[in-house]
Symmetry: D2
Subunit: 266 residues, 4 copies
Amino acid sequence: MQPSRERHRPLTRLCGVSDQIKVGVLGSGGKVGQAIVAAVEAADDLDFSAGVDQGDPLSRFIESGTTVVVDFTHPDVVMDNLKFLVENGIHAVVGTTGFDDERLGIVRGWLADHPGVGVLIAPNFAIGAVLSMRFAQQAAKFFDSVEVIELHHPHKADAPSGTAYRTARLIGEARAAAGVPKSPDATSTELDGARGAEVDGVRVHSVRLAGLVAHQEVLFGTQGETLTIRHDSIDRTSFVPGVLLGVRDIGARPGLTVGLEELMDL
Amino acid sequence: MQPSRERHRPLTRLCGVSDQIKVGVLGSGGKVGQAIVAAVEAADDLDFSAGVDQGDPLSRFIESGTTVVVDFTHPDVVMDNLKFLVENGIHAVVGTTGFDDERLGIVRGWLADHPGVGVLIAPNFAIGAVLSMRFAQQAAKFFDSVEVIELHHPHKADAPSGTAYRTARLIGEARAAAGVPKSPDATSTELDGARGAEVDGVRVHSVRLAGLVAHQEVLFGTQGETLTIRHDSIDRTSFVPGVLLGVRDIGARPGLTVGLEELMDL
Amino acid sequence: MQPSRERHRPLTRLCGVSDQIKVGVLGSGGKVGQAIVAAVEAADDLDFSAGVDQGDPLSRFIESGTTVVVDFTHPDVVMDNLKFLVENGIHAVVGTTGFDDERLGIVRGWLADHPGVGVLIAPNFAIGAVLSMRFAQQAAKFFDSVEVIELHHPHKADAPSGTAYRTARLIGEARAAAGVPKSPDATSTELDGARGAEVDGVRVHSVRLAGLVAHQEVLFGTQGETLTIRHDSIDRTSFVPGVLLGVRDIGARPGLTVGLEELMDL
Amino acid sequence: MQPSRERHRPLTRLCGVSDQIKVGVLGSGGKVGQAIVAAVEAADDLDFSAGVDQGDPLSRFIESGTTVVVDFTHPDVVMDNLKFLVENGIHAVVGTTGFDDERLGIVRGWLADHPGVGVLIAPNFAIGAVLSMRFAQQAAKFFDSVEVIELHHPHKADAPSGTAYRTARLIGEARAAAGVPKSPDATSTELDGARGAEVDGVRVHSVRLAGLVAHQEVLFGTQGETLTIRHDSIDRTSFVPGVLLGVRDIGARPGLTVGLEELMDL
């Protein structure tokens, strides 16, 4: 049994179910949807109100009095889903991919006409991943050296991982903005590839190993000390706590929020 | 040779030495003082203007046109030093210990009369240690579980270390403020001491091992993922980059600043 | 798809199935049994010949020409299973618990009458766990200091873990045998529990954290250097490669073998 | 104060100094030599009998009754030193570099004429480094995957380090001998260098970071578990315990011993 957050919400228990947030799930029949339904049902302060899968009518969310809907579906259908939700005053937490500037602009347009509604769109709901990227960005300008090591199962097709690539770019940008020079490196004899790939001036190393899932270390160093930020994800349900965080907070954040970190007040 | 920051300050080189900060050092004959003098001399944008040791007159700082003085001396003399510096319009970066609320109040009083002067007083100048404490505090409320492991050389007298104790307290306070319950723990059979010491609801483990210097890990966990913040200090000069950061910034921060993190804009 | 070992056994493919080992599984309907059946079926050099569950006759192993049987069942039935297998000339790989000296003696007695048969009984089939225990034992006498940190999910009832306890005892015995004194430790002020539990003179620390599964670090230290042996188990199927190792080797090791390490030639 | 081994040799104290080994040091004026002299003087069971530096006569060792000499000198003089020591019945522990097969053959020739004398020649006296290489070699054939990460200060000229290169070769040879295939790797899109350098089929990654000294991790993985062997060297005196081990043992090992691991009985 995974510990849930309900224990520190005693008021819910005293005041009855009227304080619970009514949560609907789009794509409730898929693996991700099922994990979200289970987590909502396990939380004292949340009430699973309706699930909608391919072919089911979106009107279920209205009939059930749903106030927040979680959407982990497909780029082909997510825009229709969001239009319906916003127009009906229902908040949304969206993990579906495929949002470019154009799509974000369209969503902002809908929200302008419904000022009380909040929509969260995030590419990554793993709280640990989001925090480690943010911390790496904050630390970037204070150290002479920085490198990234990402470690994954051997079935991964790309090296480095998308997360490592983004992390390196954020670090590189932060260092450039602060005028920090490249990490010192006296290497004069290198076996091809030993020093890793270079992304925005940051060396990135990709390890592929049976028995691993998804892991990343950002190493910072300066005179006499190092700081390491490590994130380990060993389970495909690591997005769940981030989704629940979004569900609980989005009602108080009208308009479009992009990225889980925006509602973490870091 | 340790890489220094001077390389990303090309303007200094173009405009001549007039842009350099004139830095004086109190306690310049001690081990800490010597390391600071060496670092100031190695930095292109800093100019070592005067060193003062026991018996030397503080007036040397005035004669040499010093604008910032670094004080790593002793609680018995630091208040006299600071009074002199503030009254003479010289900024100060202070690593000397022993500042309680009363002493801080006195310094604030002096500074009220000299509004252009800045004083930084910090208990810890190791940038990695300061950042890891701040990150731990920021992450505290987002995870179900948290524990601290600190690892030191076997000649250390106290367990846990002062840094681990403070880190645990900061985490405990942040979790309490957010209403996060204690980390889940189903332990029903424990060999005495196995689960560590408890500080504000946070378990702290102290490892003592030959071959180590000073190291700390803060481990956070939630469903399917963990985040680890690790700090390794392997050299007694790890305070140097933090002191230089203070020297470069304190001139632009009039009044009293307590803690290096305050000028890191985290 | 987990990489299996079949790819480096090309002779099997050239010579046909006659080289395959016919493997039976006891408790084939349980979770562990199912994982073993799946692994046997995926391996080119092994042939799943028969599964036996509660109520099924053991004679199936004879009818199917099975040469090795894997038993992960229950202490109540394992002795009857083993008696049958040995008397019928079938090798056995046993992960069932509950073997004390008396039971091992009985098995040895049966094997004395059937000198060609091999039985492997092991408490732990995770190759990484077995190796890390052995390496810890080998390294024990060469370092001034040693401590153990074990990290598990928060639903674990005992602290320290059984593996950490055994590891500490093996280390303690190896150090005592070599006349190595206790790890140096100058701690004079300790918050209760900070320095962990003591097992045979070795300090053991137990971390409990959401998002973890089962992990252990053995830290050795001497002048200027440390050696760390870390084992991470993130999946309940980590016993599978060790079971297959046993299945492939036990036919060549008549008599009783206790512990996977005995056939790893370390 | 570094804990020394003398405390677990109580017999030495009871029986008087006559049990002490008389140890001489060649190159006693250099940094390495000074560290060895200090360690010999601190050990109860060893007696520093004579130091010889450039220009000093080797006969000092005879006059002082020295039984073991430590040689950390230079390839140009080490052969003359060894010839003298062997011919005078004095054991030697040698960390000087430059021994190829030809030189080793010559030393074996001298020893053939003086069968009671022992000579230890080792390229690496850091016990942790020697053990981690040996453990990596032992574990190599039991895992599907293996990669090496070495991490050093940014002033290092070669990547990968010599130790990482040797470690990868030993692992590659052990896997080839056991017929283990290459580590699985589905990478189809790689940013140049991300997957590291390849040494005998083993991927090696080189990190260069301010604040580090010399560190190495060997990562092994199979279904559901990983094993990591990590060595951290943070001090240039980490060779000392290995030298003392050699000094204490070489008297009982006549003939030539190459590599510290040979007298560790692993």
